[in-house]
Symmetry: C2
Subunit: 327 residues, 2 copies
Amino acid sequence: MKTRVLLGIDIGGTNTKLAAISARGKVVAHDMILTLAKEGPESLFTRIQQVVPSLLGPRREIAAAGLGCAGLVDAGSGRLCSSPNLPEWANTPISRICKRVLGVYTYVDNDANAAAYGEYRCGCGVGARMFICITLGTGVGGGIVSDGKILRGSHNYAGEIGHMTISEKGPRCKCGNRGCLEAFVSADALVRDATRILRRAGRSLLGMPAAKKSRVLTPEDIATAARRGDKAAQEVFDNAAQHVGIAAASLVNVLNPDRIGLAGGVASGFDLMEKRIGQVVAERAFFESAKVVTIRQAQLGFNAATIGAALMAKDALRKTPHQTPSR
Amino acid sequence: MKTRVLLGIDIGGTNTKLAAISARGKVVAHDMILTLAKEGPESLFTRIQQVVPSLLGPRREIAAAGLGCAGLVDAGSGRLCSSPNLPEWANTPISRICKRVLGVYTYVDNDANAAAYGEYRCGCGVGARMFICITLGTGVGGGIVSDGKILRGSHNYAGEIGHMTISEKGPRCKCGNRGCLEAFVSADALVRDATRILRRAGRSLLGMPAAKKSRVLTPEDIATAARRGDKAAQEVFDNAAQHVGIAAASLVNVLNPDRIGLAGGVASGFDLMEKRIGQVVAERAFFESAKVVTIRQAQLGFNAATIGAALMAKDALRKTPHQTPSR
């Protein structure tokens, strides 16, 4: 008899990550393919179907599939409503297509929710009563897990933590608003700050590979330079920590989390930000609420959303056990 | 046989409101006594006990009591942890004391949570899946009702919406933070703004009773002047609406509410703020999330917290039907 595993799928604008996940959330095998969004979801799931046998090997089969998808997802109907990263897929019944092609029960949710749920179940959020996961990547997203369940809001759009205003007249954000957290601490914002400081300080940021202009600067490069003692690079992370701290303090006051997780490329500099973030939260949030929160670096990295989506599928299947493949 | 009613009690720093509430949340009778916090909770509940017979009349009896209390409340144990308005009562097992004195099942929660629940059950929040109630009073508080339940966070401290940072370097707030919503839109902040504009504009704010300096200016006075066409008073409410809108937009992005209710004295100028708040939310929040939210004036006024606390007590009693009076 074959071992049944969950298939976790994390669909991004460029790449789609696949992972075979055990019932306990362990990654058994993983792979990545191009999303090729313009070819449509049928094409993607057909290519996934082709990859699955080599991903699973001869002794495993899929019990259910969990999809994390960038954009606004109606988790109830499994429809992708809209997505800035997958504009061609707006209003697609993505769960139904996946079910038909792969022949298994499929659950779909927003990728940030899936990543938050993964961290909650198997990473830095284990055991938290109110867990907030903030992903500091190209954009800044988030997911909230309250009493073990994703906090969805009225239409499953909740969790856009990157778009809290922290500075009324702050810099313009891609979303159209001003002074969003994302406008201060996305990977792009950090690189912009580093470049500006580099220009201003001239000889600063020495030791940073990207200062050679041989390739694109990343938050990881800036973090490496900061750890080597580069003052300008440290200033970039100090600024980021200040702004993450302000947003975290607001979240602490409004949602009273006992754990906040920081994920994404910018969180690779967690060691450079941890102390300052804690200070800002202590300064800005209510004493009692600040006292009960711990802020941690996310643990699952690359596979947070595949793990979370797979476990969501497992949970959903348990609630509706009579789901059958719709092929 | 006597009709059983719920006793709703809203304990503030100065006054304590009492109301006999029907099972459907209707106020049957209400009264107000001084809290006299320094005399302690035993004294307050003894005086409540003395008032109850005249409040109920000969044909009613209390089924359960619900307390809304300013401060941080552990709703599970019924303990008041700390309260800026009732400093002498820190760490008081307030539910146990009420039970002993009144001889009925007692449920205690934070007053802002109680008011939010009241509005959710019987006021402007009826039917909402994610309801946020913001009380714009001397302070700015709030409560969040998600899928019919108060969103408590890890330790029941959630809902401090007044202390979201909306402007990183904004004015100092009483809580110690900078640029909190409360620092911009509390009743005190409005009066301060009106006074400043009055000083600057000289002849402006004509028609406002308080311009005569015969009594303390209130948000209601400023609203009355604004409705009479006073430009300076309108400017005060425009500014308030701008800042409420910024906070609401952040909440819309993070929590995806379908309804936001505005309560408290400053919300008496809701008609003056409604349009601008809607514009700011539309400008600043995600289109899809902004589209599904409606912002309304609270409906229960004075008795929101007594109604909400009473209905919370009823709900809690239904879940633990074997509760007996602990006298």
